[in-house]
Symmetry: C2
Subunit: 307 residues, 2 copies
C-alpha cells in the first residue's frame, strides 16, 4: 500500500473539522474570537521513547499524550493535532490498524481530531512527530516565567513511574510482582497527562511546566525563566508504591531525574488543595534545591538529554 492508500484507509477516518478528509494541501483553522491558539510539537522515536515491541496503539497514544501534556501545562484545552509519520518498510497493515485504533481511542477520550500530517518511508527507526493545538482564553496561557517568591511548588500525579517502567525494560530488576511491574510499564507506554486539570491550573498557577525531562530539570526551566530559586522537599514528592518497591532507598533520587512523567509542575500560592501535591517553595536565588532530611542533596546532571 502506498502513502495515499495508508492515509485513506487508516487516517482519513480520524480527520475532523478543517482537515478536508486529508484531501487538500493544507488544513484550515478558523479564528476563535477571544481565544489564543497554543501550539506544541514533540517527536517520539523507536529505541528512544518507545520500543519496537510496544503495542502500536500504545505508541500512538504516547505520541499524542506527550504533546497533550504540554498543552495542559499551559492551561490550554486540546482541539486538534497533526501527525508526521516516518515508517520503516517493515510496518504491517496490522500494526497500522492498531496505531489508528490508539489514535481513535485518545481522540474520543480527549475530544480532539486529526487535522493533517504526512506519511513517508524511512530506512531508520520509526519516528512520529505530533503537533498539538489547543485554545486558551486570550492572554491566559500559563507561562514558565511567572513564579513568585513565596509561592509553593506543586506537582500533579506521581513522579518517576515511567522511568521505573523503562528500567524494567532495561532489565534492571526482575523481582517485582506482576501487578507492580505492569503498573510501571503502563505508565512508560501510555502517559497520563492531567488534561482535565488545564482549566483549574489556569485559575491558580503563576508558572507551569510539563514534567518531561525530569522533575528537577523541568523545575530548573521555571527557576531560570522566572529568575527565582525553587526548593523541593524530597519527602513530599509523590511516589507510587510500585516505584518505591522497585527502587527502595533510591526511589526519590531516581524519580526526580527520570523524566517522561508528563505530569504538571507549577507554582501558586501556598496551602492550596486539589488534584496535586505541594512539594516545595519558591525563594530568592537561582536554580533548584532538593532537601532530604533537612539536608541539601545534589542531583547530578538531572534530566534526559538526547545527545
Amino acid at each position: 500500500m502506498d502513502e495515499f492508500g495508508i492515509i485513506a484507509t487508516y487516517f482519513a477516518p480520524l480527520a475532523g473539522d478543517g482537515a478536508f478528509g486529508l484531501k487538500d494541501d493544507a488544513a484550515l483553522l478558523p479564528a476563535r474570537p477571544g481565544q489564543d491558539l497554543v501550539i506544541t510539537t514533540d517527536t517520539i522515536t523507536e529505541g528512544v521513547d518507545f520500543f519496537a515491541f510496544d503495542p502500536s496503539a500504545d505508541i500512538a497514544r504516547k505520541a499524542l499524550r506527550v504533546n497533550l501534556s504540554d498543552l495542559a501545562a499551559k492551561g490550554a484545552a486540546p482541539a486538534h493535532y497533526l501527525l508526521n509519520l516516518s515508517l520503516p518498510h517493515t510496518i504491517t497493515p496490522d500494526w497500522l490498524a492498531g496505531f489508528a485504533a490508539g489514535l481513535a481511542q485518545d481522540q474520543q477520550e480527549f475530544g480532539i481530531s486529526l487535522l493533517g500530517g504526512d506519511t513517508g518511508a524511512t530506512d531508520g527507526p520509526l519516528t512520529i512527530a505530533v503537533t498539538a493545538f489547543g485554545f486558551v482564553p486570550q492572554g491566559k496561557m500559563v507561562r514558565r516565567n511567572g513564579a513568585r517568591i513565596g509561592d509553593a511548588v506543586y506537582v500533579t500525579g506521581t513522579i518517576g513511574d515511567s522511568g521505573g517502567g523503562l528500567a524494567i525494560f532495561k532489565r534492571e530488576k526482575h523481582t517485582l510482582n506482576d501487578a507492580d511491574r505492569n503498573a510501571l510499564i503502563a505508565r512508560y507506554r501510555v502517559p497520563q497527562p492531567p488534561v482535565g486539570f488545564a482549566e483549574g491550573l489556569r485559575a491558580i498557577a503563576h508558572a507551569s511546566v510539563d514534567v518531561s525531562d525530569g522533575l528537577i530539570a523541568d523545575l530548573g526551566h521555571v527557576a531560570s525563566a522566572s529568575g527565582v530559586r525553587l526548593v523541593v522537599e524530597g519527602e513530599r514528592v509523590p511516589l507510587s508504591q510500585p516505584l518505591r518497591t522497585l527502587w527502595g532507598d533510591h526511589a526519590l533520587s531516581r524519580a526526580v531525574a527520570a523524566g517522561d512523567d508528563y505530569q504538571i509542575a507549577f507554582t501558586a500560592p501556598p496551602g492550596l488543595e486539589g488534584p496535586f501535591t505541594q512539594i516545595g517553595r519558591v525563594e530568592a536565588g537561582e536554580g533548584v534545591g532538593l532537601i532530604v532530611d533537612g539536608k541539601a542533596v545534589n542531583v547530578a546532571r538531572p534530566g534526559y538529554r538526547h545527545f
Copy 2:
C-alpha cells in the same frame, strides 16, 4: 553540545513573536480577527528528498519551501513555522551553523519566523519536519475541489527541473554544460515556490494544488476532488531550456511525472494573463488526460510515491 545548547545557539536567534525565545513548553498564536489560519506540514528525509552532501543551508531552505509552496497554493501568506529535527550523531556545529543560516535567509526572504519545534538524535537518516502557518482572509482559502467545467488549467514557473536535477545526481546524463547542469541541480536543492503570487491566486483561482507529487498526479487530485476531468495540452507545458537539453524528446513525459516542482497548478476562467501559463482545460468526466500532437498519451504511474 546537547539539544538545549543546539536550540540556544542556533535556533533561539530565529524565534519570533509567540515563540518565547523557544524557552517555554508551547508557542502562542493570538487569533487574527477576520483571518483563517492555514496549516500544512511536510517532512524531508536524507536519501529521499535531499542528499547528505547537499549544503546544509540548501537543505534548510528546501525543508521550508516545500511547505511554503502548499501555503501559496491555498492563497495563504506565510507567517510562522515549527521545526522537528532528527539529527544523526555525525552532525557537526559547522553543519548546524549553515542550516540555521539557510533558515535565517528564507525567514527574511519570506517574512516568516520560527515558532517552536524539537530536536532529537537518531541512528537513522537526517529527518526534518516543518509545519508552516499562514493566513488568508476568512473563507478565502483556495481548495482543490472548486474546478469548474469550462475553466482553463494553469501552472506557474517551469515543470520538471527538479526532477532533472535529481536525474543528474543519479548519473543519468553527463553531457550537459555546467550552466544547465547547475540550473537543474539548483532547482532540486532549493525549490522556488511562487509565494508572492498567493494573493493574485486568491483573486482568480477556482481550485489549486501545489505540484509536489508530479504535475499529472497533482492535477489528478484536483480532478478527483472537483468531480471533473482535466486535459493538459502537452505542447503548452512550460519546460526550461536546460531540461529540454537534458531529456530531449522525453522532456515532456518525464517532466509531468517528475514531481518535486513546488509550483502551483490551478484552474480559473480561460484567457487570463499573469505569472503563469495556460496548459489545458476542465471538462466533464474524471481523471487527467495528456494530449500531444492531438493524440492522448498515457502517463504510466504518474508521480512520486514513498512506498
